[in-house]
């Protein structure tokens, strides 16, 4: 909540929040209502100019461009949410392997991530598209994999610091399972970096959708998406250049919003730059620390107290 | 070179760091500036070098031989730095350019300020390295291949190679162990005297200051609270803050702690 408030405090963060909430809202509205049916084609009104009836005109089959864009927003939302989910899971698994105390595992993972990260998403998508054909799953898996690798690489330093911290060491020494150490110590420390990276990846996923769909290995034809709208209008640019404007503009606006959101998040999550968060942390510090110390306290008590200072 | 600082105030992002500081360094004299960490001593040195961060604002007057440098253009300040005023940094490990060899690093001020041939530059750099006690073979090494003491010797060589008239030593020994500390202070003092330059020695450690300076100023929370000869200050500090610093120095060097010192340091911690 504090983070949202500080994002709202900046003009750029405010733009991001407005665009992103409009996106989600429109995606849900499009499930119930669009100005025209997606399949209401009209052979007499193809490539119509914007009018009161067709706000952004019609496409080559006479279908309403605005309705298709509205419906496209839910496909893109689905793709982004799934991609982020997949890459977060993959990223976390890789991070867990990278910071694990087994030197062999962590070493191999670090170098493997460094090597695999150089394989372009589109090649993974192409490999997948051969057996799977064009589908949303191709985009989600290919992007999720690529961005997961990225995430692991970016968040590794923080995660490593947290894994080597006294808290984590103490928790391990007290017999807390590695999984719980990961969840309760390492993830919270890497979370700010991870969420920034994920919001940037969300932007890239929207861009990837339009590219892969245009190449015929993304969203299958007949399913509305922004990439689909963009790709269908491309074929007729020399005849009707205006229709190509809208889908591109929407994608750009949304990706800019996701990027600005990431920027604002970075600033908001940085306790040095954000006074609101600093206060919140001070307020939370007491109970959180108490919870952290709990599992090891028995062991500490069993040791004889050390003299604080010895002076000759 | 004589330095006159009048009414110097520095603020960063609107927060005052240094207020109304007056300070004088005579020609060929060595002056100390001592204060706890966070008291603003480094900011004074940075203001004297024109090295304040872009977010800082600065008012008052800093004169070198009567020439005002506050408000001086970036170009003019750059001409001063390395030629007339030089700085020795607290942490040479991060200050020395990691991609330059020692030789390239030491030659940099010569390249920037003098019309010399490559051979002449090299000869002067080797002579300077010899003065700070480093063999010419060190010249081809990178900073990370040197020990902390050697790094600081390179830092001093770089600062002095352009024969500046004022050296600002910003906690030059803090990052070093105590034996190396003494060697570095001795080296710095002898080289400054030999070059006929002045020095402002900044530290939080009186035990170092006693060897290095004749006069000193005590800075607390951005204000000068006490000044005078270093010896007198060491024997009879007047303000509680100065007393605390003196006792801290004794505690470190002699391992004896008068009750008074511990009492006051505790008070400080609680505050």
């Amino acid at each position: 909540m504090t983070v949202l408030k500080s994002i709202w405090a900046h003009a750029q963060g405010r733009y991001a929040l407005i665009v992103l909430s409009a996106w989600v809202l429109i995606a849900f509205v499009s499930l119930l209502w669009t100005p025209h049916s997606l399949w209401a084609t009209d052979g007499y009104h193809v490539w119509a100019a914007p009018s009161a009836d067709h706000w952004l005109g019609t496409d080559g089959t006479g279908a309403d461009v605005f309705s298709w864009l509205m419906a496209g927003s839910r496909t893109n939302l689905l793709i982004v949410v799934l991609t982020i989910g997949v890459s977060a899971v993959i990223g976390l698994l890789l991070i867990a392997a990278m910071v694990s105390s087994a030197a062999m595992l962590s070493g191999v993972t670090v170098v493997a991530v460094d090597a695999l990260i150089s394989i372009p998403t589109v090649l993974i998508a192409l490999i997948l598209a051969v057996p799977m054909d064009a589908s949303i799953a191709v985009i989600v898996i290919a992007c999720g994999l690529g961005y997961g690798l990225n995430l692991a690489r970016v968040a590794r330093p923080q995660a490593l610091l947290a894994a080597r911290s006294d808290y984590a060491e103490a928790a391990r020494a007290a017999g807390v399972s590695p999984l719980r150490v990961l969840v309760s110590h390492i993830v919270p420390n890497a979370l700010p970096t991870m969420s920034v990276q994920l919001s940037l990846s969300a932007g890239t996923a929207v861009l990837a959708e339009s590219g892969l769909t245009y190449l015929g290995i993304g969203v299958p034809s007949g399913v509305p998406s922004w990439g689909h709208s963009l790709a269908t209008s491309v074929k007729f640019i020399n005849v009707y250049p205006l229709t190509v404007l809208w889908p591109g503009l929407i994608v750009t606006c949304v990706v800019v919003a996701l990027n600005l959101f990431g920027d604002a998040l970075r600033e908001a999550a940085d306790p040095v730059a954000n006074p609101l968060l600093r206060q919140a942390q001070v307020r939370q510090a007491q109970p959180m620390e108490a919870a952290v110390v709990q599992p090891q306290s028995e062991q500490v008590v069993s040791q004889p107290p050390q003299p604080k200072q010895v002076r000759p | 070179m004589s330095v006159d600082i009048q009414g110097l105030s520095i603020a960063i992002g609107g927060v005052p760091i240094v207020s109304d500081v007056n300070l004088h360094i005579g020609d060929r004299s060595r002056v100390g500036l001592i204060g706890a960490s966070g008291s603003g001593k480094s900011m004074i040195a940075r203001a004297m070098m024109g090295l304040l961060p872009p977010t800082a604002t600065c008012s008052g007057s800093i004169r070198y031989e009567g020439e005002e440098i506050i408000g001086m253009g970036e170009r003019g300040l750059a001409d001063l730095r390395g030629r007339y005023v030089s700085m020795v940094f607290q942490n040479p490990g991060s200050a020395l350019n990691p991609v330059l060899t020692v030789m390239q690093q030491v030659m940099l001020p010569l390249t920037l300020h003098f019309e010399l041939s490559q051979a002449q530059r090299k000869a002067r750099a080797i002579a300077m390295l010899a003065k700070v006690g480093l063999d010419a073979s060190v010249g081809s090494r990178f900073p990370h291949q040197l020990s902390g003491g050697q790094q600081q010797r390179v830092g001093i060589a770089t600062a002095l190679v352009g024969a500046p008239k004022l050296i600002l030593a910003d906690e030059p020994t803090t990052a070093l162990d105590s034996i190396t500390q003494r060697q570095i202070v001795r080296l710095l003092v002898s080289l400054v005297d030999e070059a006929g330059a002045s020095m402002l020695f900044i530290t939080h450690d009186f035990s170092v200051l006693a060897h290095a300076t004749d006069d000193c100023y005590v800075l607390d929370a951005g204000r000068i609270i006490e000044s005078g000869s270093t010896r007198a200050l060491l024997d009879q500090p007047r303000t509680p803050q100065a007393r605390q610093l003196v006792h801290a120095a004794r505690e470190l060097t002699l391992h004896t702690a008068p009750d008074e010192a511990t009492a006051s340091s505790h008070k400080k911690e609680r505050r």
Binding site: G203 | D79, S94
Partner: protein
């Protein structure tokens, strides 16, 4: 070369080899788990069973999978990537011809990206006025948020010959004679390179700015300034040099990401490049060609990754003595 560098190099090379094997397995498996089998997909929907069987024999698909993989891998090691079912040419020949379009496009695009990204990135960090810095930053974000397809279209509408507002460059196709018609070839790559370069350049601009901003308050910059440089000069010499290893890594990664854009742009501008060829082969189900091309491209990018890692190390003398990186 120090021991640590040697060990790093060996380790990295070993990993490169392992990654190649993994990629080849992935490509192989992806093409074998098709619904139906490769032969019937390639023969087409309603071809007689005898033809499918003949094709299966011809492709060696009747042998066990491991045998097939080993055969393919051994052929790869001999530089034999197979023969396209549709054109009858060897895959290496086909890829070679297409690479002559794609690589110049990538190189030109990268040049545009560097020319835009580095200077504007420096400016967006070093500009005196905060307003100007913010504006540069916003421009970089918007530039990086444009879909390649749309960016290419806007460029065509702006500068395309016969269609754009100012008809400067051709927007469709590549000269028949290829590079023999040098001026035409360059002209036909101009808009595509610009489209790719602007988008990548915007990303590079952000990275340059971020890297420089981090160095702005570093003591290495203070040191350079105290030797007699102005802040601007210190940032442009010492700052850029210290940011270089990081930027090389970023450029390497951008290079890999750039390929999606390159494929889209090749398609849009109707250039007979690698990406366009790969998409066509996937569409035509010329699976032998797809298998060879995918592996070749993946190997190429793994090599780029290797080169970037080695360059990154070479650019930072500290890493040569085994510090950092946690390897």
């Amino acid at each position: 070369m120090s021991m640590a560098s040697m060990r790093f190099l060996l380790r990295r090379l070993a990993l490169f080899a392992v990654a190649l094997v993994v990629i080849s397995v992935l490509v192989f498996v992806a093409l074998r788990i098709l619904p139906g089998d490769v032969a019937s997909v390639m023969a087409g929907h309603d071809s007689p069973p005898e033809r499918v069987a003949a094709l299966r024999m011809q492709l060696g698909l009747d042998r066990p999978l491991t045998q097939q993989y080993v055969d393919w891998a051994v052929a790869l090691l001999h530089g034999n990537f197979g023969v396209s079912m549709l054109t009858g040419r060897t895959i290496s020949e086909q890829v070679g011809a297409r690479a002559l379009v794609t690589f110049p496009l990538i190189v030109m695009g990268l040049a545009v990206a560097l020319l835009i990204g580095i200077p504007l990135g420096c400016a967006s960090c070093l500009a005196k006025s905060e307003r100007v810095r913010g504006l540069f930053h916003l421009v970089a974000i918007i530039g990086g948020s444009i879909p390649a397809l749309w960016g290419g279209l806007l460029l065509i509408l702006l500068l395309g010959k016969g269609i754009g507002l100012v008809g400067l460059f051709p927007s469709q196709g590549f000269p028949q004679d290829g590079w023999a018609a040098f001026p035409q070839a360059v002209a036909s790559l101009a808009l595509p390179a610009l489209a790719v370069g602007i988008i990548v350049g915007a990303g590079l601009m952000r990275y340059t700015r971020a890297a420089l901003e981090e160095l702005m308050t570093s003591s290495a910059i203070d040191m350079a300034m105290s030797c007699g440089m102005t802040r601007t000069r210190a940032m442009l010499t010492v700052g850029l040099r210290l940011a270089m290893p990081q930027l090389v890594s970023v450029i390497g990664l951008t290079f890999a990401e750039m390929i999606t854009g390159v494929m889209v742009i090749e398609n849009l501008f109707d250039l007979p490049g690698l990406g366009e060829g790969l998409i066509t082969d996937v569409g035509n189900r010329d699976l032998i060609a797809v298998q060879g091309e995918l592996f070749m491209l993946a190997a190429f990018f793994l090599t780029i990754g290797l080169a970037v890692d080695l360059l990154h190390r070479a650019l930072d003398p500290r890493l040569n003595d085994g510090e950092g990186r946690g390897l």
